[in-house]
Amino acid sequence: MTTSPASKGTSDVPGQVFEKFLQALNDAYAPAELVARLRKTLLEEKKFTERALKEAVLPEEPLP
């Protein structure tokens, strides 16, 4: 039997996904402020609602 070696585990899968996402945004030259706002929302405040994401992605009111 050849299962993968026991690791620390990926207990925080969402955290892992969010980190990867923010890294990918950086790699795509996304504005640093946008990445910082998303980091605060997703990893620090752990807010995942559409409203919270909208405030991070579009800090100013979108056009009418």
Partner: protein, 818 residues
């Protein structure tokens, strides 16, 4: 994370008072159905997480933890329903006590309660998946791809990942939706500009040529270039405040023509056709009250979903677990997918009608503006009101609900009140009657209007660009997120897939050692195909038996847990898991748990004693790491086959002169123990296909086998010339023979008078020596030090030795080779 040392359960579910000492090792709870095994599982889950999944969640109806968690006789006193566990935390080298009562399940009393301990317990609490029951097991295997993805996502805590994915998608979609009216505004502004310029194509050279022609009339220098900031009227003197503003005759006449054309378009055949189609679609929805109500509900739930943020319903403020509430609302939305589709189809057909109305509105507004410059000013009241009405109609069509009102409004779209046409005709006559302006005035009017419309167009373009940038940005963010999460999840799934196949292949290595599986994540779903004996990949339920599917469920669970918790996967409760696995693969399943998860403490329940033996022989549990429940009553809860309890109970019955009950209990206990002895000693028992063995079929073979083993041991000792050992064995054999003879068990086949069936006819004094004889006899099968029954090693092939659990007893059975 943790290992459980012991549990004490009081007045919880069907248990009155029970303490089990796991000693931090894997442990089995065996007993017939309904003897309280799952009560222990519930208690473990409750102590560690504050919840009992069997009593909460979807489909539990009126059952609740607080109301139905306490023992039925304590249902009004939840504080008495308590569970206390003592756990060790290997990473902290600490032992901790956690106690909860059903009065306040969320409040655990933890001792010691330092921050490191509480952090570990918080993690345990966040992973209720440490408890796996058989009914949950199959969820991972024979589920629809969407449902399986939900189950696996729940296990991996991917709900947050999914929530963010949906949120970012919605933001991008909303931005795209907001772009539509801005596109329309640009189109209208462009048409207005072209009309003012009097050209058909908006090309720089043509704009400059026509503007410079007008500028030349005013002796203004020609514009050499047209940039984003170029003013067509650059250098033109601004009229003084006292100078009244004039109606630009040519432009006004052109706008009046455009207004007439727009109004004509509003009542054209195309518009009529569009109105008829949309009205028909909406009437279908309205005609089915259930669908109409569903559209309302769908709009309500969609709005509600956006407002769900805190741990309460946004409508009635009822406290909810945030995740549960979202799942609950989402489930309702999922049921309304068809309604959503119909609504979207109607919205697509309505969009051109809205564009037409915007065009009319813009044209009328322009004309109304010029009419105000007339002398005396003309109000064009009906036209102005119609413009306001158009805005209201656009809002109504955008909202769609209530559908009946939308249908009524739609019916009026192609109807233009005659008074509007009359007003416009009258204004047309007024404008036509105006004296022709001088060439300079005409050029001035032209440049003012053209510049105004150029600015309007530029402004509309700017807004459109910002919106487009938002669309591109939010779409890109959404796509990057999707790609990043897919990459992470694909990596996890690839590892899980490999481990799953390896674990399952181990259990079924006899015929499926090359087994492979595919986990295929796609758009929020998780496909799962497995190899069927090299014939191709199919869903697990297609060809594999139920037993194999159970095995797959366990292996997928273990593979997921391994990746989720890694080295922290130190505790798991397997409730009645693998009961349908065929006997041939149970041993392998036990071996798998032992070999692949040596640091995990498994608490396992089963009603099958054979399973229990497999666990023992494969070394997952040691001799004492098991409890066997024999029955359950509402007054006393589970009763276990515990030697001390049984002998006390038998003695109590006997003293109360209830020999019948004492005899029955003694017989059942001896049956249970004799089966264990025959298994351990590898005694020869007449085979029964129904596996229903009576005491007379088990105990005599066990006695005969024990004596035969002593005989073999003495012969072996003799071959090795071990005089001292032979003498010790002879003494043991003689003592054993004496006890066997006292019990009369060997004579059951030939002497009916001493048969156990006649015990219940004895008086209480006569029955006392019978009890003592069998108690002593069972003691003769045990190791004097550890008290465990002796066993023959190995389990198969030639018998080599008689051993015990602690190692003190070690009797050789192999003779010296000649």
């Amino acid at each position: 994370m943790i290992q459980v040392e012991s549990i004490t359960i009081s007045e919880f579910r069907g248990i009155r008072d029970l303490t089990l000492d796991f000693k931090g090792k894997s442990f089995a709870i065996c007993g017939p159905n309904g003897t309280g095994k799952s009560g222990v599982v519930d208690a473990l889950e409750f102590a560690l997480t504050g919840n009992v999944s069997r009593l909460s969640g979807e489909g539990r109806g009126d059952i609740s933890l607080k109301q139905h968690g306490p023992h039925v006789d304590r249902r009004n006193d939840p504080d008495k329903a308590r569970v206390s566990v003592r756990v060790t935390i290997p990473s902290l080298s600490k032992t901790v006590t956690i106690e909860r009562s059903l009065k306040n399940p969320a409040a655990a009393r933890v001792v010691p309660a330092d921050s490191a301990v509480l952090e570990v317990l918080r993690q345990v609490e966040a992973h209720p998946e440490i408890v796996l029951s058989r009914r949950e097991l199959i969820r991972y295997v024979i589920a629809t791809p969407g449902k399986r993805a939900e189950e696996v996502q729940a296990l991996l805590h991917l709900d947050q990942v999914e929530q963010v994915r949906v949120g970012l998608q919605k933001i991008a979609n909303t931005c795209e939706k907001q772009l539509v009216p801005l596109d329309t505004a640009v189109k209208l502004a462009r048409e207005n500009l072209l009309r003012a310029l009097g050209i058909s194509e908006l090309q720089k050279e043509k704009v400059l040529a026509t503007a410079n022609a007008q500028r030349m009339s005013l002796s203004l220098p020609a514009l050499m270039d047209l940039t984003e900031t170029t003013s067509l009227k650059d250098g033109m003197a601004t009229p003084g405040p006292a100078q009244p503003q004039r109606i630009p005759k040519a432009q006004t006449l052109a706008d009046i023509r455009a207004t007439r054309e727009a109004l004509a378009e509003t009542c054209s055949d195309d518009t009529m056709k569009g109105v008829v189609e949309v009205s028909a679609d909406l009437n279908v929805i309205l005609g089915d009250p259930a669908v109409a109500a569903s559209v309302k509900r769908e709009a309500f739930f969609t709005t509600g979903m956006e407002l769900v943020e805190a741990g309460a319903c946004p409508f009635c403020d009822t406290p909810w677990d945030l995740g549960e509430l979202k799942t609950y609302v989402q489930a309702k939305l999922d049921h309304l997918k068809e309604v959503s589709r119909k609504r979207r189809a109607a919205e697509i057909k309505i969009a051109p009608l809205i564009a037409t109305l915007r065009k009319v509105q813009a044209a009328i507004n322009s004309v109304v503006g010029y009419a105000a410059l007339a002398s005396p000013p003309l109000a064009l009241k009906a036209a102005h009101e119609y413009s306001v009405h158009c805005e209201a109609v656009i809002q109504r069509l955008n909202a769609l609900l209530p559908i009946a009102e939308t249908i009524t409004v739609l019916a009026n779209v192609p109807i233009i009140p005659q008074i509007i046409l009359d007003e416009i005709r009258e204004f047309d006559q007024v404008v036509a009657a105006l004296p022709e302006p001088t060439k300079r005035d005409s050029a001035r009017d032209w440049l003012v209007v053209a510049e105004e419309r150029l600015e309007n167009w530029r402004d509309a373009l700017r807004k459109q660009k910002i919106a487009k940038d938002q669309v591109l940005g939010t779409r890109q963010i959404s796509d990057i997120y999707a790609a990043a999460s897919d990459k992470v999840l694909a990596g996890i799934y690839a590892d899980v897939e490999k481990d799953f196949a390896s674990l399952y292949g181990f259990i079924n290595r006899e015929d499926e050692d090359k087994f492979k599986a595919h986990l295929i994540p796609s758009m929020g779903k998780l496909g799962f195909d497995v190899d069927f004996y090299g014939r191709g990949f199919f869903p697990p339920g297609a060809y594999h038996s139920e037993g194999h599917q159970d095995g797959m469920g366990l292996c997928l669970y273990l593979a997921l847990m391994k990746h989720l918790q890694g080295g922290n996967f130190t505790f798991s409760v397997l409730d009645d898991v693998l009961m349908s696995v065929d006997a041939g693969h149970r041993r392998e399943a036990c071996s798998l748990l032992k070999k692949e998860f040596p640091n995990t403490q498994f608490i396992m329940t089963t009603h099958d004693q054979i399973w229990l033996r497999h666990m023992r022989t494969e070394g997952i549990i040691s001799g004492r790491s098991a409890v066997h429940f024999r029955n359950w009553s509402v007054d006393h809860g589970p009763t276990r086959w515990d030697a001390r309890d049984v002998w006390t109970e038998i003695e109590d019955y006997r003293k109360e002169n209830d020999v019948r009950a004492a005899a029955s209990l003694l017989r059942h206990y001896l049956e249970y123990e004799s089966a264990e002895l025959c298994h351990r000693l590898r005694a020869q028992v007449e085979f029964r296909g129904d596996a229903q063995y009576q005491l007379g079929e088990l105990l005599p073979p066990a006695i005969m086998r024990m004596r035969g083993l002593y005989r073999h041991a003495k012969e072996a000792g003799n071959s090795w010339n071990q005089r001292e050992i032979i003498e010790q064995l002879a003494a043991r054999d003689a003592e054993f023979a004496k006890l066997a003879e006292t019990s009369n068990a060997e004579q059951w086949q030939v002497n009916v008078a001493v048969h156990y069936n006649s015990w219940e006819n004895l008086g209480k004094e006569d029955f006392a020596p019978v009890v003592k004889a069998f108690r002593d006899l069972l003691g003769a099968f045990t190791c004097a030090l550890c008290g465990e029954y002796l066993r023959v090693s190995p389990e198969r092939e030639a018998s080599e030795s008689i051993r015990c659990e602690c190692g003190k007893t070690m009797i050789n059975l192999l003779k010296k080779s000649a």
